[in-house]
């Protein structure tokens, strides 16, 4: 009896450990696979062609700049919408809203987060794009801006729920102390609670941006998929082609092992590296700030 208990305990411990480490293993495997399938492109396609402004793979134009630019501009647009709205509603839910409003708002935000992106994309294509074309008098409503609006809507729930949890975890004593020293409610939120929850809030923003840059179906349906290198903010109101939409639209046609196939994996690699850089930059910021605050406190 006793030995069987210790056995099962041993097995469970090992299982938990393995599932813990598996995250690292999977990321490493994916990275390795992307490298193996994507790197041959450096030999197959000249550097000049890769940095060209033309993406037209069926005639061997493999300029990746319009795709990177497209993803970046759509994501920046989405971030400009999602960060203020997301943090605003997180602050409202965590700090200002009365208890009953909070009980209603939280589940609604979570339902919004569970909305399939293809549904949003369809709504965007059928309703939002025609409206944007008329309202802004654009040649077409299928623009980066349309994509940004929808991606903003997709990433807001992520930002709200993570940031709200972070704000909620700030000890009540912080707020009490600030209020006792004569700070207004706004000063308490802006100067005390938000900085104290900094690392969680930043994580929320990063997750939101990650959600936006990786989103595929919605952008493929509403951004028009025209591979133009965006120049300046005006490009927000013209069509773009993102990296994710390119992979999704073209992966079906490529023959295994062809130049185009390696190119799509190379795009995947670039996408992977971009989100890695964003994540590392974010955690570096959090790390530095925390060290500083620890120094001050000690």
């Amino acid at each position: 009896m006793k030995s069987s208990l210790s056995w099962s305990e041993y097995i469970i411990t090992q299982l938990v450990r393995v599932s813990g480490y598996s995250a690292i293993v999977f990321v490493a495997l994916i990275f390795f696979f992307l490298l193996r399938e994507g790197l041959p492109i450096i030999k197959e396609v000249s550097f000049g062609n890769l940095l060209n402004a033309r993406w037209y793979p069926i005639e061997d134009y493999f300029g990746i700049l319009p795709l990177i630019g497209g993803s970046v501009i759509v994501t920046i647009g989405a971030a400009m919408i999602a960060i203020p709205f997301g943090l605003g509603s997180a602050i409202f839910i965590a700090e200002i809203a009365p208890r009953w409003a909070r009980e209603i708002l939280k589940p609604f935000v979570e339902v919004l987060g569970g909305l399939p992106s293809v549904v949003l994309g369809f709504l965007g294509f059928v309703l939002l794009a025609p409206y944007i074309r008329r309202f802004l008098a654009l040649p077409t409503g299928l623009t980066a801006f349309t994509g940004s609006l929808l991606l903003g809507a997709i990433s807001i729930p992520t930002i709200v729920s993570v940031a709200e949890d972070a704000l909620d975890a700030v000890p009540k004593s912080y707020r009490d102390a600030a209020l006792a020293m004569g700070a207004t409610e706004w000063q308490t939120i802006w100067r005390v609670t938000l900085p104290a929850a900094r690392s969680g809030v930043l994580t929320a923003v990063m997750l939101g941006i990650g959600r936006a840059i990786g989103e595929t179906m919605t952008v493929m349906m509403v951004t028009g998929n025209a591979a133009i290198v965006p120049t300046g903010l005006g490009a927000l109101f013209s069509p773009v082609r993102t990296m994710t939409a390119t992979i999704a639209a073209e992966m079906g046609e490529v023959a295994n092992g062809s130049v185009h196939y390696h190119m799509l994996f190379f795009i995947g690699l670039v996408l992977f590296l971009i989100s890695l850089i964003v994540n590392i930059a974010a955690s570096a910021v959090v790390f530095r700030q925390r060290k500083r605050s620890e120094r001050i406190l000690s």
Binding site: R54, I58, E59, M220, M221, N225, A249, E253, N256
Partner: protein, 296 residues
């Protein structure tokens, strides 16, 4: 304990043999008395036609099961190369590099012309333009003409719509319209051409946007879009696409539709392809807005 092991292994053997059954029969089935399974994939232009054929054929021969999926001509041929389908549908001829990929697997692609199709150039019904020459359409899509007033329309920017590059319709339009059939011509679509992932994407934008111009197979044109009459040059007559104008060759943007197999077809696949070329099956072709091949 031993009993369960024996039982399990018995079950495994049964399952395995059950799995082997249908997959091998497709290649060796003789007459349609044997169960067989045909996998058919490719061109979105052909998918409705292929579905109609598959439905009728399965009514006639209930033992044959046919699965039809779309995705684009390139997708279908890629699947044929990877060996996951029996028949690939394509709205363009196979490319040399695709042919090489199949031959690298030790097989030779076999081509069947199964129907003809006209590609209609469509605009929003509000657009006053009624007819264009091939040259004008080419200049619009290559980016030389950017406003409708340059060809006698309203002062509106032109929004060009195209299918994605994995569509056979895209490749055909590039070669025969944009480059006017000149193999040396390296003209490309203007970079700001919108590439729509589906035929429905083009239809929806055409219906909504008076700036837009698009193209798609005749079978996909609905009454709420306006078709453009096309002429080879300004001194020839402008023709709207129809069965008649495609058959007598007066409508300039028409093409053959294909099915491909890897290696000479045999068994159920061979019988199915023979039936598709029969008059009974070709009747379905004209029902769906395509042009049958026999009545040439």
């Amino acid at each position: 304990m031993k009993k369960t092991v024996r039982l399990l292994s018995l079950l495994l053997v049964i399952l395995l043999s059950a799995c082997r059954g249908p997959s091998t029969s497709a290649s060796q089935a003789g007459p349609q008395t044997e169960e067989s399974y045909i996998e058919n994939k490719g061109s979105d232009t052909i998918v409705n036609l292929a579905l109609a054929w598959a439905e009728r054929y399965q009514e006639l021969y209930p033992k044959v099961r046919i699965s039809v999926t779309g995705g684009g001509s390139g997708t279908g041929i890629a699947a044929l190369i990877n060996g996951t389908v029996d028949i690939a549908n394509a709205s363009r001829p196979i490319k040399p590099e695709e042919e090489q990929s199949i031959e690298a697997n030790g097989k030779h692609p076999v081509e069947f012309v199964i129907a003809r199709d006209a590609i209609a150039v469509v605009v929003n019904p509000e657009n006053p333009i009624n007819h264009l020459t091939l040259r004008q359409i080419s200049d619009i899509y290559s980016g030389k003409i950017n406003n409708w007033k340059e060809i006698g329309g309203e002062d509106r920017p032109i929004v060009r719509l195209s299918r994605e590059t994995n569509s056979g319709t895209h490749v055909y339009f590039l070669e025969e319209v944009l480059r006017l059939g000149d193999k040396e011509d390296k003209t490309l679509f203007a970079p700001n051409t919108l590439l729509m992932p589906s035929s429905e994407g083009i239809s929806a934008e055409i219906r909504d946007n008076p700036n837009a111009i698009g193209y798609d197979g005749l079978g996909y044109v609905t009454p709420d879009m306006k078709m453009i009459a096309v002429a080879r040059s300004a001194d020839e007559t402008y023709e709207l696409p129809s069965k008649e104008t495609v058959n007598d060759g007066s409508y300039p943007i028409a093409r053959d539709l294909y099915m491909y197999t890897a290696g000479d077809p045999s068994g159920a696949v061979e019988e199915y392809l023979a039936w598709i070329l029969s008059p009974a099956a070709q009747e379905i072709v004209s029902e769906l807005g395509f042009v049958p091949i026999i009545s040439k």
